[in-house]
């Protein structure tokens, strides 16, 4: 048992941290207000730090980080700017990930080097009628010679507006589970329209779009891993995505605790810094404790994956705990800041809004509890 980072991991973390603190942190509030995430920033993360290819092997132009290193990067990104962290995480885990894990050689050669260095990937599973019950999706893909013809409506597509590729799940047969297939769709394909831009509580700078497919013709070679593999691909990648969202929650929680500690040392009431009052000191202690537990669960899940061991239950535990802890921690951060916590002069107001979605996307807390309980009960009767 060893909770320490090794030399490489520390170096990676420090490199990311200093880049973000110098180049990104000073501009976050401005971009959040404008609800804008400049593509220029992503370009620099891709070209200077290789973050476009975190899960892409070196032979396809990526940097091939393992799951632990991946979490370290996402945590650092989220500590500075949650909207940026989700953009980078989605691109890697479900934008590039499906091609890395399930793509054929031609698809890998065609898409991965571009995604690693230049392009941005998105993922499109949810529909207005299907979220947690993913297999209830209705979008269709009908084979027509050398093409599939896609029709349907998708929503909650992170980075939907400026992605270059979309991994799209659509129905190729009626079977609820086995009738779903995954396709690589390039932006600008005729019949693909970007529609609604969501007005969200948080992650203001991350664009969330709806997509409409209307007789959208996709080359048949863009089918990933065969007809009927869609749900398997989605669930496999979401499993991995879960500790990424957990790491994001850890990053937000850390930012909230750091801001609260600073404020608790500076702000005085009744003749002493507010941190000296037990009411505030104990909140800080609880925030720290939940953060440490979140981090340990997250890195344990990531380590299991890196070691090639089963990690589905542990990833769900990490996602469940770290995201609920983050909502709780950011809530307390506002409380410690009092009125200042409720105004946008201090960043904790943003942390609170940004944290909330982590309990929802990439599997709600309820889906995580289902996964954990099913695995426990299966073990009990085995």
């Amino acid at each position: 048992m060893n909770f320490e980072l090794n030399e490489d991991q520390r170096l990676l973390r420090d490199t990311i941290r200093s880049f973000l603190e110098a180049e990104v942190a000073p501009h976050v509030e401005k971009f959040e207000k404008a609800e804008e995430l400049p593509r220029e920033i992503l370009k620099r993360l891709w070209s200077e730090l290789g973050l476009g290819g975190m899960v892409i092997p070196e032979e396809y132009g990526g940097i091939g980080l393992d799951a632990v290193a991946y979490c370290l990067v996402v945590e650092e990104l989220a500590r500075v700017w949650a909207a940026l962290s989700i953009t980078v995480a989605v691109h890697n885990s479900v934008g590039a990930g499906p091609i890395v894990e399930f793509g054929n050689e031609a698809q890998k050669k065609k898409y991965l080097p571009k995604l690693a260095t230049e392009w941005i990937g998105a993922f499109s599973l949810s529909e207005p009628v299907s979220g947690s019950d993913a297999a209830a999706l209705r979008a269709t893909a009908v084979k027509d010679g050398a093409h599939y013809v896609l029709n349907g409506e998708k929503n909650w597509v992170t980075t939907g507006g400026f992605a270059d590729t979309y991994i799209v799940m659509a129905r190729t047969a009626n079977d609820k589970q086995k009738g779903i297939s995954a396709f690589i769709v390039e932006k600008g394909t005729t019949g693909l329209t970007l529609t609604r831009t969501e007005d969200k509580m948080g992650l203001k700078a991350s664009e969330t779009r709806s997509l409409v497919f209307q007789d959208c013709r996709i080359p048949a070679e863009n089918l990933l891993a065969g007809e009927g593999m869609g749900l398997k691909i989605a669930l496999t990648l979401l499993n991995s995505g879960r500790f990424g969202v957990a790491a994001q929650a850890v990053g937000i929680s850390r930012a909230a605790l750091e801001a609260s500690l600073k404020y608790a040392r500076e702000r005085e009431t009744f003749g002493k810094p507010i941190g000296q009052h037990q009411a505030v000191g104990f909140m800080l202690a609880d925030m720290h404790t939940k953060l440490e537990a979140s981090r340990a669960l997250t890195y344990r899940a990531a380590w299991l994956k890196t070691a090639g061991l089963p990690f589905a239950r542990e990833a769900s535990m990490a996602k469940l705990f770290a995201t609920e802890a983050s909502t709780w921690i950011t809530h307390k951060a506002i409380q410690i800041h009092g009125g200042y916590g409720y105004v946008r002069d201090y960043p904790v107001e943003r942390y609170y809004r940004d944290a909330r979605v982590t309990e929802i996307y990439e599997g709600t807390s309820e889906i995580q509890r289902l996964v954990i309980a099913s695995s426990l009960l299966k073990e009990a009767v085995a």
Partner: protein, 380 residues
């Protein structure tokens, strides 16, 4: 980063699990009902080297890591929390300070007896009028020639009625506050040492908890542990390690709650299906397992920090605060899942519920842990 157990740690865990299942669990309900100290359990633990797990081999110990110790305490406590705390006190609160602060002579006379389980130790810090505010000791030790004369009353002493040796904290200088505290090794047979009546505790009823009354109790000056005025430092250093023991005890209780509840959820039917098929029950099970694992990781983080020789006060307090709360909450959920049967002594969850509560109180209340964490964080 490495979240695996070593082969040795697996072996300790398996050994502890086996003795817990075969020897300790079958007697746990009886120990709770009778309140009789489980001497046979302690003998078995001693045979395995579990009463002096971290003590060096030259003093009869098993020279194992804190990590192995945490694993063993969890398994034992999952069967019987009373036995868990008896083991934890002997290892963490008695063997440890003697090994760390004791003279060669003290180690020769006492440590191997304690580490091999021939003797049992107890730790006397709390008093009727001082618990969390441990610096306000009222028990005194006055030097007279080559002896100290001890007077005072010590409260809530685990292993109190059966211990052979007591680590006793006293004021040697009443004017010096916490710098006036010293600790002494007092043998049970010393004249002037009296054991009070066994306390009627809510849980851990086999722990033999009582008062220790010292009346003109003369202790050889050679039994001063550390130097005069060092007592508070000895006490705090000792409690850091003790907190890993209690956190591990809480893990055992929390794990037993999950184990029994998961089994019950597959066996008990309601509305035509096992209750585990209802989300209301599944949610409780999922939260129990998640918080248990979080508590485990925090506890092990403290244990490996101690093994690596780093300062681990913050980690130990974090682990103890979280794990003890987890045990209480998991026990509450376990009773709820068992329904009416959970309220009867026919099922062990009723005992878990009572046993869990004390983990939030002894060896530093949750409030003291939060105070330590907050102070550490604000100092930065």
């Amino acid at each position: 980063m490495d979240f695996s157990l070593t082969d040795d740690e697996h072996l300790i865990q398996d050994t502890a699990r086996q003795i817990a299942r075969e020897v300790i669990a079958p007697r746990a309900a009886e120990t709770d009902a009778s309140g009789i100290f489980p001497a046979e359990n302690v003998r078995k633990l001693a045979e395995l080297g579990f009463m002096g797990m971290m003590v060096a081999e030259e003093f009869g110990g098993a020279a194992m890591s804190t990590m192995a110790y945490a694993l063993a305490i969890e398994e034992i406590s999952a069967a019987c929390a009373s036995t868990g705390v008896i083991m934890s006190v002997n290892n963490s609160l008695v063997c440890h300070p003697i090994e760390k602060f004791g003279t060669d002579d003290q180690k020769a006379r006492y440590l191997s007896k304690l580490a091999t389980g021939e003797w049992l130790g107890a730790y006397c810090l709390s008093e009727p009028n001082t618990g969390s505010d441990a610096a306000r000791q009222q028990t005194t030790a006055v030097q007279q020639g080559d002896r100290y004369v001890l007077n005072g009353t010590k409260n809530f002493i685990t292993n109190g009625q059966v211990a052979d040796l007591y680590v006793v904290y006293c004021m040697t200088d009443l004017a010096a506050g916490h710098h006036g505290i010293s600790s002494f090794l007092v043998e049970a047979t010393t004249e002037g040492l009296t054991r009070g009546a066994k306390e009627k505790t809510m849980g851990i009823r086999g722990s033999s908890t009582c008062q220790i009354i010292l009346t003109d109790c003369e202790v050889p000056a050679a039994n001063l542990l550390g130097t005069e005025g060092d007592g508070f430092k000895v006490a705090l250093n000792t409690l850091d390690g003790g907190r890993i023991g209690i956190a591990s005890q809480a893990l055992g209780i929390g794990a037993a709650c999950l184990r029994d509840s998961t089994r019950y959820a597959t066996e008990r039917n309601a509305f035509g299906q096992p209750i585990g098929q209802f989300q209301a029950i599944q949610w409780m099970l999922a939260d129990m397992a998640t918080e248990l694992d979080a508590a485990r990781l925090l506890t092990w983080q403290a244990a490996v920090a101690k093994d690596a020789g780093r300062r681990y006060t913050l980690e130990a307090s974090t682990a103890k605060a979280f794990a003890s709360r987890m045990a209480v909450v998991n026990a509450d959920r376990a009773v709820q899942i068992h329904g009416g049967y959970g309220y009867l002594q026919d099922y062990p969850v009723e005992r878990y519920y009572r046993d869990a509560k004390v983990t939030e109180i002894y060896e530093g209340t949750t409030e003291i842990q939060k105070h330590i964490i907050a102070t550490g964080l604000l100092k930065g």
